[in-house]
């Protein structure tokens, strides 16, 4: 293979220009306001600034070159401070493609290659704009994939595409604010009963007098607008979500304004997380996510790569078609004993007393309302206790379940991906034979600790021994 230094797609100049304009936006704006001359003078200044920025973009483009070798890709950047990055193909964890809508007609794509190196939120190798045939060439080298041709239809082993109603459900149930709003509405309704009519009327009179209603109306409008924006953002991001599996590689493709494709091989998956907020749990829905050694998914749910945004609980077996080591049916887990559940509830209640006590003490009439936190804390503790659990499956898999803040996470992790295991126990826990089990997994650039709290010591010891010894 010939190895010559190549330039990016010429459209990269436009993209660089756009980025510079955005990052210099404040300076451009300031120059508009400080200049008190004729309008055409002002326009002149802006045009000059834009041209200077364009010159910078051209410089950057000119010095941004890459070389696709047999074993590695090399990227040369920098005008004054030159930088060379070598990324060997076999170290690549994820290959990510991003295509803005306006680049589609030009068949131009942005490519990001990530390795396990700790580079803090930035991909190891980035090609901001290259043409599709470069992408095909890279995919062949990284994944051994043949480029798509029109005659031969693409052969995939498994495919999942999100339906419109599923996407809608996902977006609606992703917004944490809805339950809060419902709660507030309910509270308002209750307020009517609690507070006497005359007090209520008087308050409303005062409020009317100050025109506060207008402000409240505006606030409500703002909240609704915010909700709409967050809803549309999610719909946009997961628009036409497609998950396919070919050989041992998983592809996810999604997005409307920016089509985002992420490829990762099955062996690079550190863990599979099945996540349910209490809202989704009530609706029988589940979201399946992958823990990867890559920040490719940093905009998604807690940095996990969303594999199946939302599916019905009963269809969870299809995960197995995409990640073969995930069992089609999850086993019953070893749960907490009553002593463990009691401690989780006790802790939640004690924690809720921290705001309650001063509120009740200093803000007497309204402070009593904070007592409402008490039952919420109690239920939260109960929820956590109900769903903590652990089970090891055959020799290679560990299933952990945790519940906190009304969210239930089931983590399925292969033994080879567990980096270390810790058992924690205080003196008081030892007397009742309980402990915390902490399992550390590599996640993105750092670590993710899955902690099952107040587990019976024997169960934790069993996992610990299984992990520590090579065969058993």
């Amino acid at each position: 293979m010939k190895t010559t230094k190549r330039h990016l797609h010429p459209l990269a100049i436009l993209v660089f220009w756009g980025r510079y304009i955005i990052s210099w936006f404040i300076i451009i704006l300031l120059s508009l306001f400080t200049d008190h001359g004729e309008w055409n003078e002002t326009a002149m200044v802006v045009v000059i600034i834009l041209l200077v920025i364009l010159l910078f973009a051209v410089f950057k483009y000119w010095w941004y070159r890459y070389e696709i070798g047999d074993q590695a890709i090399t990227i040369y950047t920098g005008v004054i401070f030159r930088k060379q990055r070598h990324v060997p193909y076999n170290r690549i964890q994820t290959l990510q493609l991003q295509q803005w809508l306006f680049l589609k007609p030009f068949h131009a794509v942005s490519v990001q290659l990530e390795t396990a190196g700790q580079s803090h939120d930035q991909a190891e190798a980035v090609l901001p704009v290259v043409s599709q045939h470069v992408v095909d060439q890279l995919q062949l080298l990284v994944n051994g994939e043949q480029p798509l041709s029109d005659e031969v239809p693409e052969v995939v082993d498994n495919r999942y595409q999100i339906s419109w109603s599923d996407l809608n459900t996902y977006a609606l149930t992703s917004m944490g604010i809805i339950p809060i709003l419902l709660g507030l509405l309910w509270l308002y309704g209750k307020l009517d009963d609690l507070v006497s009519k005359s007090v209520m009327d008087e308050t409303i009179n005062v409020v009317l007098h100050f025109g506060v209603l207008v402000i409240v109306g505006l606030a409500v409008l703002l909240i609704i607008a915010g909700l709409l924006v967050s809803y549309l953002t999610i719909v946009q991001r997961y628009y036409h979500f497609i998950l396919t599996k070919k050989g041992d590689r998983l592809h996810t493709e999604k997005g409307f304004f920016q089509r985002n494709t992420i490829t990762a091989s099955e062996s690079r998956i550190q863990a599979v997380v099945m996540r349910q907020t209490v809202l989704r749990q009530l609706l029988g829905l589940i979201s399946v996510q992958l823990v990867l050694v890559s920040s490719a998914a940093k905009e998604e749910d807690q940095d996990n790569l969303v594999m199946l945004p939302v599916i019905d609980q009963s269809r969870v077996a299809i995960v197995n078609q995409f990640v073969s080591w995930v069992p089609a049916k999850l086993p019953a887990l070893t749960r907490l004993t009553v002593a463990g559940k009691y401690r989780l509830m006790r802790n939640a209640v004690l924690l809720s007393l921290i705001p309650i006590i001063p509120l009740v003490y200093w803000l007497r009439p309204w402070g009593w309302l904070s007592l409402l936190l008490l039952p919420i804390a109690l239920i939260m503790g109960w929820y956590a206790g109900r769903y903590m659990g652990v089970k090891r499956l055959d020799h290679q898999l560990l299933v952990l379940q945790t519940g906190h803040h009304f969210q239930r996470d089931t983590t399925i992790v292969p033994k080879r991906c567990i980096q270390s295991v810790t058992i924690e126990q205080t003196y008081w826990m030892r007397r009742v034979g309980l402990c915390h089990l902490q399992v550390n997994i590599r996640h993105g650039d750092g670590k993710e600790m899955v902690e099952v709290r107040y587990l019976p010591l024997q169960t934790a010891k069993d996992v610990y021994q299984w992990y520590r010894t090579k065969y058993n």
Binding site: R416, Q419, V421, K470, Y471
Partner: protein
């Protein structure tokens, strides 16, 4: 308790010196606060309470030295490293040799003076610390872990 090695005896001296360090540092800041109270009329209880807090912390730090020493254990075996510490707050960690990415030895001035070294065992996700070992043990440990790590492979467990 696992049947492992205890930390070297000298670590107690190191801990006591570091407690003294806390004391000096805290008292210096209290003195600074005293000046601020004098010149800028800051709250007068600030300096005194910090000094009291510093002395209390130092006393506790000194008092728990034997306890810390008594319950610290580590063990290096063919397949894994185990680290155990604490009685009231007990912690037991297992790190398989095959997960170890690198081993870092480090020593500040106090540890150097006592001829000790801290061993940091790093995996892809976490860092685990063996608080201190003698120079000879540190070197031996490093060799042992690296040799085992060379043999061990992710695939063979």
């Amino acid at each position: 308790m696992i049947k492992g090695d205890a930390l070297p005896q000298q670590i107690k001296t190191v801990w006591r010196i570091s407690a003294a360090g806390t004391l000096i540092f805290g008292l210096l800041i209290s003195a600074g606060l005293q000046l601020a109270i004098h010149f800028w009329h800051w709250w007068s209880w600030l300096g005194v309470s910090l000094a009291v807090l510093t002395i209390l912390t130092t006393i506790v730090e000194l008092a728990i030295v034997p306890y810390r020493y008594r319950f610290w254990r580590y063990r290096i075996m063919a397949q894994s490293v185990e680290i155990e510490s604490g009685f009231f707050f007990h912690e037991l960690t297992a790190i398989p040799i095959s997960r170890i990415q690198n081993v870092t030895l480090e020593a500040g001035p106090i540890l150097q003076w006592q001829h000790l070294q801290t061993v940091n065992i790093e995996t892809a996700a976490t860092t685990h610390k063996i608080e201190s070992v003698t120079l000879a043990t540190a070197d031996q440990l490093k060799q042992q872990i690296m040799a085992l790590a060379m043999e061990a492979n992710d695939e063979d467990d």
